[in-house]
């Protein structure tokens, strides 16, 4: 049980919380709830355009590289398949963002990953990655991040990459 001092403290805490909530609700009623938007926070190398989806977090090259040993992680290459074959991050899945549909078996593969890191060639503010991340979120895949700087920055760091077809892709067996 709380002593008198504890009760006084609890009383103070509850009052402070109640006043905070009341003030917050008044401000909320007057100004309305803000809708998250694409304001700042994106890296300069691959900054998101104004039309970017707001909720996609970015991940740095070093953090992505550290996570790459995690079996629940899946790199997704958003570039056209032909570009994928010329070079891509090791063990990446090719899901070209310019294709209108994502095959069901590819969606199943994506759903089996715990975390997805989308990357592209970093042109136009990583527009391909942002577009694909948005589509994946619509499919209910929540943990999608975009690689800062895309493939060019990854290669520049000397992190693992390979060329050739996409062994993980159901429609592109070698």
């Amino acid at each position: 049980m709380l002593g008198p001092a504890g009760m006084t403290l609890l009383n103070q805490v509850l009052r402070i919380c109640a006043v905070s909530l009341a003030v917050g609700l008044v401000v909320l009623a007057v100004r309305g709830a803000p809708r998250p938007g694409p304001v700042g926070g994106e890296p300069a190398v691959c900054s998101a355009p104004a039309a970017a989806e707001p909720a996609t977090p970015w991940i740095t090259l070093d953090d992505a590289h550290k996570l790459s040993a995690d079996p629940g992680l899946l790199f997704v290459d958003c570039r056209p398949r032909a570009e994928f074959r010329t070079g891509h991050i090791a063990a990446a899945l090719s899901v070209p963002s310019d294709e209108s549909e994502i095959r069901d078996d590819v969606v199943s593969r994506l759903r089996s990953a715990r975390t997805i890191i989308a990357y592209c060639d970093a042109r136009s503010g990583c527009a391909s990655s942002v577009r694909l991340a948005s589509r994946l979120r619509e499919l209910g895949i929540a943990d999608v991040r975009i690689l800062t700087g895309g493939l060019p920055a990854w290669l520049e760091k000397g992190y693992p990459a390979q060329s050739g077809s996409c062994p993980l892709c159901p429609d592109d067996k070698p």
Partner: protein
């Protein structure tokens, strides 16, 4: 003398902490969309709660700042401040562990700082300061009744009796 010095340090710490809360709250209230975006990027809240949280949290920070400076509420405000700052440190720590690269939103869009172990340590340090303030602001323990009884008659005795 020592008690005065102690009291002065407590006030200085309270004013500093209140200043931190005000500096953190104002940019968030001035640019709620940027802060809501930062909150959403933490991926800890359902989307429907992000907007209200982005408004209510800075209001809470202002109330805590005020409470730290108002005599009857100092201890409670410091405790709420500890919980807030501890929560921030945990939220940032988990984002570092999950490898999410995001802006901390600690001071709204005013400081465009990314979450790092430094920002986690800063919040944890401030939580520690706030917790210490709450502990140090407790009421002094009451004197035992027998001590009061034994001293009062002596004080009231006329000199020379």
């Amino acid at each position: 003398m020592n008690s005065d010095k102690h009291g002065r340090w407590l006030w200085l710490a309270r004013i500093a902490l209140a200043g931190v809360f005000v500096a953190a709250a104002l940019p968030k209230l001035l640019d709620p969309i940027a802060f809501a975006t930062d909150v959403q990027n933490y991926r800890l809240l359902p989307e429907t709660l992000v907007g209200p949280f982005a408004v209510i949290l800075p209001c809470g920070e202002l109330v805590v700042a005020l409470g730290l400076l108002l005599s009857p509420y100092q201890r409670g405000a410091a405790l709420v401040g500890t919980l807030l700052l501890g929560g921030f440190a945990i939220a940032m720590g988990q984002s570092r562990l999950r490898g999410i690269d995001l802006r901390c939103g600690c001071f709204g869009a005013a400081l465009d700082a990314k979450v790092s172990w430094l920002t986690v340590a800063r919040s944890a340090g401030l939580a520690l300061l706030s917790g210490t303030l709450s502990w140090a602001s407790r009421a002094p323990a009451a004197q035992p009744p027998h001590a009061t009884e034994s001293s009062e008659p002596r004080a009231q005795q006329p000199p020379g009796s």
